[in-house]
Every structure is written in C-alpha cells, then in structure tokens.
Symmetry: C2
Subunit: 230 residues, 2 copies
C-alpha cells in the first residue's frame, strides 16, 4: 500500500511530469481527472493519449492502473464565477489574485482524490502544485498542502501522503525533470500532447508545444523551455 | 464581516439548531445545502419550510439572507459507493465505521461552503458536527475541524472561523439548546419540520418527530429527547 499512488492528472505539462515521476517511483499508479466546465476543456482530451504515450515509452517501475474521472458539473462554475469557467478576460483581481482563481479548487480536488484513494487503497496522492512559479494561487502553497494532509488524514482516519514533486522547482527545472525521468521521448510527448494554453489553442505549434503563446500559461511554459534549452 | 455567517443547513435537527444559534448571535446569516443523491433526500425538502418557520418565530438578532444550494450530482455516489447514497443495508464496515460514511464528505461540504463564504464575504462557517454522539465519522471530530480551518484559510488566503456549536454536547443538550434559543416554538418547529430518519420515513409521528424510530439516527434523536424531557 505504501507504494501505490494516485496522481492528479489534468493533461497539462506539470501533471504529466508528475505522472512520469510517480511511474518511476511507485509500484502501482492510478490517475484522477476533474471535469468542471473548465475554460480549456481541451486539456481533458489530452489525457488518454498522454497515458497511452507514457505506456508506449515503457521502462517504468509502476504498472499504470485505471483512470478516474470526477465530473463536478456546474458546481465550480456556480460557486466560483470566475474567468476560469466563464467568458471573462484574464486579469488580476483587487485581492491581487488572477481572476482565474476558483477559491479552494485544489482543496476540492485533493478531497475528492483522497476519497478515491481511500476506496482504492492508495496511499500517496501526487499533485503538480508549485510555489516557485507561484501565480498568486494560495491553494498551491506548501503550507496549504501540509495543512490539507493533516485535515484529510484526520477526516478520513488514514495516513495519506501528499507528494508534490514540483513544489520547489521552476518550469525550466520541470522540463529538466521530464528529460531525466523519460528522456527525449517523454519531452516529445509533453511537447506534442500536453495542453497548457488558457485559450485552448491547439493549432499554433512552437518548439515548446501548442498554444497562443501570449496567455500567462503559455508565457510561463515557453520561458521555462527557453531557460532549460539555454 | 466578523458578524456574518454561513450555516451548513441540511434540514435536520442539528443543523436547524445551528441555524437558530447563528440567528441569535450574528448580524447576518445565510445558509447552504448540498444535494448529492442522498438516501434521505426528503431532508432537503424540509429546508425551505424550516427557514420560513424560523423567520415566523422572529426576535433573532440576525437577518436571514439567501439560501445556497450546491448540487453535487452523482459525484459523491460515484466516489463513495456506500449505503448513504445507495440501496445497501446500514451496517458497520470492517474498518469500524458505519457504511453510511462517504469518506471526507464533511471536508467537501466545508470546502464548498468556504468557497461560497469567500464570494459572499462571510466570515464564520457554522456546522453541526459533533464529537459527543460520535457515530464513528472521523470528519466530525474537533481535531479535523481545526485542521480544516487551517487548510481552508491557507488555501483561500482568508481568516474563516469554523464554528461548531454542537461539538461537545449530546442530543439531549441539543434539544435543550433549541429550547433556550427559541423556546417552545423552536422545539415545535424542530419536532414537526426537521428530518433525521435514515429511511426517509415522514409518516410515523412520535413525540420527538417523524421517523421509522428504529434506524440509528431515529434512535439517537429519540433517546436524546427522552433524556431531555426526563
């Protein structure tokens, strides 16, 4: 049980790198994704091809188990009412947060993930939360993750471990981590198959992948690629 | 803002007592309920009449603001797969928990509630979690609530207070609290209008209210009533 993990897997660069990290480290890995009428739902369509590509690459320690999809329907859109789920221009709010912030979204995702891990007997919950390229999301902070581990473990009477391999690295180091874990084939999979762009652009191809190239998510991904490539 | 509260209001005895407690104490109170294909969805139908009754009783400090309903759809049923949402007989599981336990249900409810409180500018989140008549639900424990307050506040960058007025009292004291807060009219409202029975029975009338009288929830409610009445 200690070597079985559930990866929060959205289909983006970060969670794909986390999935590879888990495949290299544990005996058995399952994935979970969330549909919440997100602005860039195209990300969800990337998930199955990415899982297939990682299995094609092979050589992992872990077997890749089932994928779990949780459909949150309109719930987040209703309570959040933010740019992430609506047709609003991305900007900073008065509270200094990007208006893509759905309050507590990662807390919800982690709670649902823990409920699945509880039922599936998985001990480690892996997420791509990162404080380094901190975009103003308090639910990505290391403090938050540690408090959440405590709350989940007390609330479910289990001993889950929340593992966040990207917490203290930046996007350049995330590319380097992927290269180290799965070499050129994994980097190629991430470039070709993962989605990051807030605008859902899948037709403009850059050396770092597809996207509009100008939204905050594309800029972060592209800048990390350039720093990594040197 | 310090005097504005959001009450987790299911339509049962405990959350109705919590709602009265909040109405007596704060300046402004809103309510939130969760639809999750629960076994006893009849509880949800009790909510509007109870709110109306409390307003009829009057004399509260607070104004009663809007009611928020969060429809979780099949989500909990899908991840929980337990007696609470299915057609399974209520019993104890091997883990020593009643099989009505949806792992982390209260953590989910609190996270959704906090997201609503965030948007509505409400500071206090009131819930009927109780450790005294502890039915084996770890997500009702005081430790869990305190860890959750920390996780929510770090994750949303706010200073919510989770207030749990029933945490250390038993069902007899909950009846006494209702009597103290709203007298005979509140007790009568709770008897007549709140729902507790796991089986959804609304036709068998006892002095303590409606219900089958034999499920664990009815037994707890009836025993508390008898101890309070002496």
């Amino acid at each position: 049980m200690a070597d079985q993990a559930l990866v929060l897997f959205s289909g983006g660069q970060d969670s794909t790198t986390c999935l590879a990290w888990a495949l290299a480290r544990f005996d058995h890995v399952e994935t979970v994704g969330f549909a919440y009428r997100q602005r860039h739902a195209v990300e969800l369509e990337c998930r199955a091809p990415i899982r297939a590509s990682l299995q094609d690459i092979g050589g992992w320690r872990a077997t890749l188990g089932p994928d779990h999809m949780v459909d949150l329907g309109e719930t987040l859109a209703a309570i959040g009412d933010t740019a992430m789920t609506g047709d609003i221009e991305i900007a900073m709010t008065e509270a200094g947060l990007p208006n893509t912030f759905v309050p507590g979204r990662n807390l919800l995702f982690l709670t649902y993930a823990a409920a699945i891990a509880y039922r599936r007997g998985l001990r480690v919950i892996v997420g791509g939360m990162c404080e380094t390229d901190f975009s103003g999301y308090p639910d990505c902070r290391d403090d938050t993750m540690k408090a959440m581990q405590l709350a989940l473990n007390l609330g479910m009477n289990r001993r889950f471990v929340l593992a966040m391999p990207l917490m203290w690295i930046d996007k350049a180091e995330t590319w380097a981590l992927a290269d180290r874990l799965g070499g050129a084939r994994l980097v190629e999979t991430i470039v070709e198959r993962t989605h990051t762009c807030y605008l859902g652009n899948r037709h403009d191809r850059h050396d770092w992948g597809y996207g509009c190239g100008t939204c905050p998510a594309c800029e972060l991904r592209a800048a990390g690629w350039r720093r990594w490539r040197g």
